[in-house]
Symmetry: C2
Subunit: 105 residues, 2 copies
């Protein structure tokens, strides 16, 4: 299992992989590209069984918090945290009322 430093460097690395760099402006991911990114990045069977199309759809919707059609690094991290919580609740069977444990398909 990788350590927290790999989690941090890869979290940033994946964002920069998808965020365009239009000279000088802050790197952002286009809202339309978000769903494709999540589908391309979430490949492991273990995670796909928990983070399904509905979860990706929901995460995509909440990502662009300021509704500017683009996703900045902070919004991206909120989405990854949301997906990680889904996986965490499923793995530990513990979550708040909202978090329901998903039967492994």
């Amino acid at each position: 299992m990788a350590g927290l430093d790999e989690v941090i460097t890869n979290l940033v690395g994946v964002f920069l992989k998808y965020a365009g760099d239009d000279g000088g402006k802050k790197p952002k991911i286009k809202q339309d590209d978000v769903k494709g990114m999540l589908e391309q990045e979430i490949l492991s069977p273990e995670l796909k069984a928990v983070i399904d199309a509905d979860e990706i759809e929901e995460a995509t919707k909440v990502m662009d918090k300021n509704d500017d059609g683009e996703v900045n690094f902070h919004e991206y991290c909120r989405c990854v945290t949301k997906l990680a919580k889904t996986y965490y609740i499923n793995k530990t069977g513990r979550g708040d009322k909202k978090g329901k444990k998903k039967e492994q398909k």
Copy 2:
């Protein structure tokens, strides 16, 4: 570079490695153990040059948001996101007013 699914599974894995499992209750990391965890987990020279003792101190302080002396998964993710933003700002040289680029020592 690992994909987002590894980031998510490792983010959860590192938390569960440090969070005690006192039978049935939600896994939490004791506030006193947080600093030690961050020091043990952030080893890569690249990251240590950016996330120094001050950053770890600051992250440790904000982690226990509800001040119950313990850190739950959501508080832990907020802290990792904060550290990732420090690394992101340093790597891209871009951040909001608060984020200042750290000279590599």
